[in-house]
Symmetry: C2
Subunit: 418 residues, 2 copies
C-alpha cells in the first residue's frame, strides 16, 4: 500500500459531471490499495471570476483581501470532490490550506510554502479516507490566508507529496505529457517518457506551461517523483496503464543515455526593457532592479554587457502585463538617479530556448543554435545561458519559424531509441 | 467614540456597485468617530448557487462538506467590502469566522455560536481599522468550518456586538423597520420605533421575517441593543438621522407606557393535522410526536383537548412542505399503534397572532381578538397562547380579512403618542 498524490486542474474540475469523473479516477486508485491525497484546483473560470469581481471594486486589489477572495475557489472544489467520492462509496474529507495546515510566508498572492503539518492527513489516511486538500493556498504565521500565485495548485500537490513522502505525485492535465516542443507549432514534436527535473524546470519556466516552475523546484529539492499525465483518458482505464503514461520527471543519476537536447521551449508573454548608457560602476544593477523589485515587478532575463567606454547598457525582460508598470518605475525612480541615457523597450518579443541536461557535456550546442537562426535570417536581440539551456530573445513574429528550425536542427523530429 | 456593529444582507451586497454604497455608509459612521465592525452576508444568490452546485453532486449533501462550500460566499463578501473601504480611503481588514475566531458547536449547517475571541478585532479597532467579519459561519472545536443556517449572518452580527459590548447593532435590511403588521395587507400598518425583544421574538418566529429569531434570542440574552433599519436610504444621509431610523429592539424595563398589542403577525406556510379519537392516557403525546420528530418534521403549534369521554383529539401544525411526510409517518407508525380513529388534515390554513408585551398585565385581549374574528364570520380552528401572544388557526382564505380586522380592533391603525 503506497501513498499517492493526485492533482487535478481547473478543466478537470470544470463541471459537476467532470468532478464525478475525477472521483471515479481517484476511487479506482484507492480500490487498487493506495492511500490517496488529492489536490484539486478551482473550477475552471472561477478564479478569474473572483479576481474580476475584486478588480471591479479595486483595480489594483489589496493583496491580502484578494487572497481572501481568491482562496474560496479551491475551497468549493475540495468540498464538491469530497461529496462526489462519498456518492460512490468512498469515504473522503476535505481541508482548506489553513486546516492542514499548509504554512507559508507572508507574501500575499505569491506566497511560498514553508511547511506542511501531516498529522491530520496521516490520521485520515490511516482510517481509510481519501484526503482532499485545497491547492493554491496556505496560511501565514499571523493566520492570514495566502495564495501561491497562478498555477500554485501544482506546487501544493508536490509540497504535500514531499511532506507525506508520497511514492509519486501525479499531475493530471489537458496534455498527455511533456513534448520536445509545442506540437501546435511543430507537428513532429514527440512526447518524452522521462525528463530530468532540471530540464523540466527550464522547460516550465520558459513557457512550456505544463507545470508551474515552482512545483518543479519543489520536486527537485525534495526528490518527489512527479508525473505529468492526461486527465482526458477514460477514468476506468487500468491503474497499471495509467501509472505508466505521461512524462515522469526524474533525477539525473537515474538516466541512461541522454540526448543532448530534450526540447525547445518558448515564451511570448515577455517584454524587454533596456536602460541605455548607464555608468558602469559597482552597485548599478541594484540601483536599477531594487526599485523594480520593490514595485513587485518580476524580472526574468537580466543582461548587462560592459564595454570599455565606462558606460553600459542594462537590459531585462519582464511579463508583458508588467511592462508599463516597470517603465513607470524606471522613469520615476531610476533614470535620473543612475544618470541613465534613455530607457527603451519592446513588448513584442519572444524568447526561445534549447534545453537539455546533455548540454553539460557537449560542446557546439550554442553554435548550432545560432547558426540555425542565422540561416533563417532571424536576428538575436539578447542571449542568456545556463548550465542546461541557451535562451535567445528574438522578434515576436519569427517565433514559430525559429522553433521549427531548431526542433529539426537538434534532431528532435526523429524518434529516439528508447 | 463608541463601538457600532453593522450588518448588511445579501441584497445590499448584491453587486460591486451596491458594495461601494455599503462602504460609503460604513465610512460615514467611521468618520463620525465610531469604531466600526461590519458583518456582511454573501452576495445575493451566491449561497443558493453554492448549495445547488453541491446538490448536483450529492442530492443530500454531506453536512461538513456543504458548510465548507457554503462558507465561501461570505468570505468573498468580506474581502470585497474591505477593498471597497480602502478605495475610499478607510483602512479595513477582513476576517473569516475561524480567524477571529467565532467558535461554534459541531452541528454542521445549523451550528450555534459558543464564544468569540475579541483580541484581534480590538487590536484592529484600536489601530483605526474597520473590521469586517464573515457572517453565517464559525469554526468547531476540531477546526472544521461550520455554518449557522439560513439568516445566520444576523446572529453573527448580534453575537459579535455582544462579544465586543457594542453600543448598538444595526441590521440593515430591505424594509425600514418592524411594522404592526404587513403593509401589503394593511395599508394603515405603522412602523414601530421600538419593540421589546420578547415581542420581536414572537414576531420573527411567526413569520414577520425581518430578523432570524435566533439573532433576537441572542440580543435578548446578551442585552444587545439591536436596530432594524433600511439599507435603501442614500448612503450619505446624516448619521444622526440614520441612527434614529428603523425599529430599535429594547428591553422591557426601558419601556415607558406600553401599548397592549404591538403587532399582528401571520403565517400561511403551515398545515394542520389532527389525530381524532385517541385514547386519553399518559404517554399518548409522545407516542404521536416521537415518530414525527424522528422523521425530522418540525412541529409548531401543538394542541390537545381532553374531554370527559376518555378520548381526545390531538392536533399540531407543521410546515406545508412537510405535510405529506408527516401524514405518511402518522399513518405508518402511529395510527394503529395508538388506536386512533381517523387522521385528518388541512394544508390550507393560516396562523394569525396578536403579539404584545402589554398583554401580560391586561385582560381582555383574547376576548377582543375572538369577538373581532367572530364579527367577521371567521371560524377559529385552533388556539394557542403564550405570555405575550395569542395565535389562532383559521381558513387560509380569511387571512387578509382577519389581519385587517385585528389591526383595526387593537387600535394599531392610529399612530400612538410617542
Amino acid at each position: 500500500m503506497s501513498l499517492i498524490v493526485h492533482k487535478y486542474g481547473g478543466t478537470s474540475m470544470g463541471s459537476t459531471e467532470r468532478i464525478m469523473n475525477v472521483a471515479r479516477r481517484v476511487a479506482k486508485w484507492h480500490a487498487a490499495g493506495h492511500q490517496m491525497v488529492v489536490v484539486p484546483s478551482a473550477m475552471a473560470g472561477e478564479t478569474n471570476r473572483l479576481i474580476a469581481l475584486a478588480k471591479e471594486i479595486q483595480p489594483q486589489p489589496d493583496p491580502r483581501e484578494l487572497d481572501m477572495i481568491a482562496a474560496t475557489g479551491e475551497q468549493v472544489s475540495v468540498g464538491l470532490l469530497a461529496m462526489a467520492l462519498k456518492t460512490i462509496g468512498v469515504d473522503a474529507v476535505s481541508y482548506a490550506g489553513w486546516q492542514v495546515a499548509v504554512r507559508t510566508d507572508e507574501a500575499y498572492t505569491k506566497a511560498r510554502i514553508v511547511s506542511i503539518d501531516d498529522a491530520k492527513v496521516r490520521a485520515d489516511l490511516a482510517a481509510g479516507r481519501v484526503v482532499i486538500v485545497t491547492g493554491f493556498q496556505g496560511v501565514d504565521p499571523a493566520g492570514n490566508i495566502t495564495t501561491l500565485g497562478r498555477g500554485g495548485s501544482d506546487t501544493s500537490a508536490v509540497a504535500v507529496a514531499a511532506a507525506l513522502s508520497a511514492v509519486e505525485c501525479l499531475i493530471y492535465t489537458d496534455v498527455d505529457g511533456v513534448y520536445t516542443t509545442d506540437p501546435r507549432i511543430v507537428p513532429e514534436a514527440r512526447r518524452l517518457s522521462k525528463i530530468t527535473f532540471e530540464e523540466m524546470l527550464e522547460m516550465a519556466s520558459l513557457g512550456s506551461k505544463v507545470l508551474q516552475s515552482r512545483s518543479v523546484e519543489f520536486a527537485g529539492k525534495y526528490k518527489v517523483k512527479t508525473r505529468v499525465l492526461s486527465s482526458l483518458t477514460p477514468p476506468d482505464i487500468p491503474v497499471a496503464e495509467e501509472a505508466a503514461s505521461g512524462t515522469l520527471i526524474t533525477f539525473e543519476e537515474e538516466q541512461m543515455e541522454q540526448a543532448v537536447i530534450s526540447g525547445i521551449a518558448f515564451n511570448r508573454d515577455e517584454a524587454k526593457i533596456t536602460i541605455n548608457n548607464v555608468p558602469d560602476r559597482p552597485g548599478i544593477a541594484y540601483q536599477i532592479l531594487g526599485p523594480v523589485a520593490e514595485a513587485n515587478v518580476d524580472v526574468d532575463m537580466i543582461i548587462q554587457n560592459a564595454g570599455s567606454s565606462g558606460m553600459t547598457d542594462f537590459s531585462f525582460t519582464t511579463h508583458r502585463n508588467e511592462y508599463d508598470k516597470a517603465l513607470a518605475v524606471l522613469n520615476a525612480r531610476v533614470k535620473d538617479q543612475v544618470k541613465a541615457g534613455t530607457i527603451t523597450g519592446d513588448p513584442k518579443i519572444a524568447k526561445v530556448s534549447v534545453v537539455g541536461i546533455g548540454m553539460k557535456s557537449h560542446v557546439g550546442v550554442a553554435s548550432l543554435m545560432f547558426r540555425t537562426l542565422s540561416e533563417e535570417g532571424i536576428n538575436i536581440q539578447m542571449i542568456s545561458t545556463s548550465e542546461i539551456k541557451i535562451s535567445v530573445v528574438i522578434d515576436d513574429k519569427y517565433l514559430e519559424l525559429a522553433v521549427r528550425a531548431l526542433h529539426k536542427a537538434f534532431g528532435l523530429d526523429v524518434v529516439a531509441a528508447a
